[in-house]
Symmetry: C2
DNA sequence: GTACATTGGTGTACAGACAACACCAACGAA
DNA sequence: TTCGTTGGTGTTGTCTGTACACCAATGTAC
């Protein structure tokens, strides 16, 4: 197994989440090098000298998926001395929320990359199970008192799609009228002139209000 | 000015908070080396190879103040490439909550150390003003939905002292009866048989319930 | 030892927020 | 044109939060 110097190294690891097939899914890559060769892992990599942590996370994401303009948020820094068998590696973990559909092309080093439903995860490398669990807890918690949920939706969406997204993340059904009233009172979305036709009556499209960046703090969205 | 290698270095910086003189105060040390020589700064230091981040924070605290058994919580990781003029230094910031009275003896390198009220801070070294502001925001926010406030009090305390602590941190007056009802419903403290005499009627002493470690999550303490 | 100042301790009523709940509307397909 | 499917809308009871005032127990000054 390769061994790093005793000097601590810094990586960023990114828990990238998406809503697909009525499931919350995360992107994992299959490691093709030791340690944990063949094991699935959260994408990440070493921080370069001149880049900020967040830029490192963005760079990793771009290398991994080609996606830009994602919502990124620092999660936690994991620094157990034994978390990486190669030596001292400190990982700054980020959460990335992206909207489907999103093609992921495996990284330059030909690693396999795919989305996994959070309910059916394979065994993971390093302490990545812990990181992922923490990311899920944070997302569920945060969606209740902020508007991050919109980051998982495409630019325009219907109210039913929005509600479905919340239900998937919180893993519980929500009342349609109460949901719409709260979203409306929170004033974080605005209606468009367009509608979308589907199986039944066409639904009005909405978009996230860019000027509503301030997180809903005075009152939790779903108490 | 000394220059570090291009390889990133990791420090932990600890925002240590205490309640004294009806004020929320933080511990700062006066730097006696470049850069920012003579400037006040949050105590911290480099992470050693074999220690976890939290242990590094505990070690720094002990070296700085001799205190053990403090409440420690990871705050955020600051990694701007230019935040330290010596080179690439990534700082994992922690919050420490301690209870007065607490003597701080200046560190082994004879740096001056003293408590500063958060309302009257001097100019700080590096990006420490940003770190401190973030720590204050987190503390105020967290105290509303968890029981971290108790960490700033001595082992036994009266309900008035507890209320005063919350008022200082939140910087707003609280209603006595409502405060007591909520604390009571949260079931995070237990009465002792002792009382404490003072200017008026003696007050019952309470202590934090060790088995109430779980943070009050279902309902915010002060909505 | 009485009066007074000081802090400790307690309950209720009103207002606002939350949760539960059912029906009509608009479209496509058969 | 009927039916299936999804979109869209208000009201009521319950609970939670907030505002608010008085008596109790001690120490001190006279």
């Amino acid at each position: 197994m390769p061994r790093l110097s005793d000097h601590p190294s810094i990586t960023v690891d990114v828990v990238m989440m998406i809503l697909q097939n009525n499931q919350l899914q995360v992107l994992l890559i299959k490691r093709d090098a030791a340690p944990f060769r063949g094991r699935w892992a959260i994408p990440g990599g070493f921080v370069q000298t001149a880049e900020s942590l967040e830029n490192a996370a963005r760079r990793e994401l771009k290398e991994e998926t080609g996606v830009k303009d994602v919502y990124l948020e620092q999660l936690y820094t994991f620094g157990d001395p034994k978390r990486d068998p190669r030596g001292r590696v400190i990982s700054v973990a980020y959460i990335a929320l992206v909207s489907a559909p999103l093609a992921v092309h495996a990284g330059t080093d030909a690693r396999e990359a795919r989305w996994w439903p959070v309910t059916e995860l394979p065994p993971l490398a390093f302490d990545h199970e812990q990181i992922l669990e923490y990311a899920l807890t944070r997302l569920r918690y945060k969606i209740e008192y902020s508007s991050v949920g919109f980051r998982l939706l495409p630019e325009t969406f219907t109210l039913s799609e929005l509600q479905r997204a919340y239900e998937i993340i919180l893993n519980e059904p929500l009342d349609k009228r109460n949901f719409r009233r709260r979203i409306s009172e929170a004033a974080v979305i605005e209606p468009l002139d367009e509608t979308r036709s589907g199986d039944g009556r066409p639904a009005r499209l909405y978009r996230f209000r860019a000027d509503a960046v301030a997180e809903v703090k005075a009152r939790r969205l779903f108490p």
